[in-house]
């Protein structure tokens, strides 16, 4: 059951990173990175149990904190004019100033 859950998390991570590559807007990419980070925490925890080494949980805690800080940091910079989203230009996310 642990291995089945690990495979499910791997499939979800692949789907999330596909959305991160093809995402139309900037916020889709940030959302996909956020989901990828959460699933990384779950994958590291599950792998620690599969391989019988529960010391991996420390790494999972560090990954959870890094994920939160990175999301808040990118969203803080998204207020600036470089990251400003143009609603009519759905192809590219960066506006030439």
């Amino acid at each position: 059951m642990l291995i089945a859950a690990t495979l499910a998390i791997l499939v979800v991570m692949i789907l999330a990173i596909i959305r991160g590559f093809v995402g139309p807007t900037l916020y889709d990419r940030i959302l996909a990175v956020n989901m990828f980070g959460t699933k990384t925490v779950l994958l590291i925890s599950l792998l620690g149990f599969v391989m019988g080494r529960p010391e991996f949980l420390d790494i999972a805690i560090v990954y959870a904190l890094i994920n939160f800080i990175s999301i808040i940091g990118v969203l803080h910079f998204s207020d600036s004019a470089v990251f400003r989203h143009d609603p009519h230009d759905t192809g590219s996310t960066k506006k030439e100033s």
């Binding site: 499939v11 979800v12 916020y27 925890s45 989203h85």
Partner: protein, 113 residues
């Protein structure tokens, strides 16, 4: 007693895996940013919580449970804050939701997000 714990742990892991897979399908198939955020919110709170509870029931003793509970509490607090900040930033930077765009146009054409 051990059989009950094993069965409940396996069912928690199964429910969490199903919710994560449905969220993964949702982030690929849903048409708008806000609807995709709904799909991700399901996986971040209930899917991760179910998988972590299943892992707690796998090894119900020692320091491992404390670390897993710490990860669970951090996930429960961090994920809604990140979702809230993301939705607020997207709405403030004029990312229009799909229903408003359709109402303004008044037609039945499907707009590409």
């Amino acid at each position: 007693m051990e059989l009950i714990v094993n069965i409940s742990s396996a069912s928690c892991l199964l429910i969490g895996s199903f919710l994560c897979l449905s969220g993964g399908v949702g982030i690929m198939r849903l048409p708008d940013f806000y609807t995709r955020m709904h799909a991700v919110g399901v996986t971040d709170t209930l899917g991760a919580g179910m998988i972590l509870i299943g892992l707690i029931l796998q090894n119900p003793e020692g320091l491992v449970v404390i670390k897993l509970l710490l990860i669970l509490v951090m996930t429960i607090f961090i994920s809604p804050v990140a979702s809230h900040a993301l939705a607020k930033a997207a709405y403030r930077n004029d990312l229009v939701p799909l229903s408003d765009r359709n109402e303004n146009k008044g037609g039945t054409e499907s707009s590409n997000p």
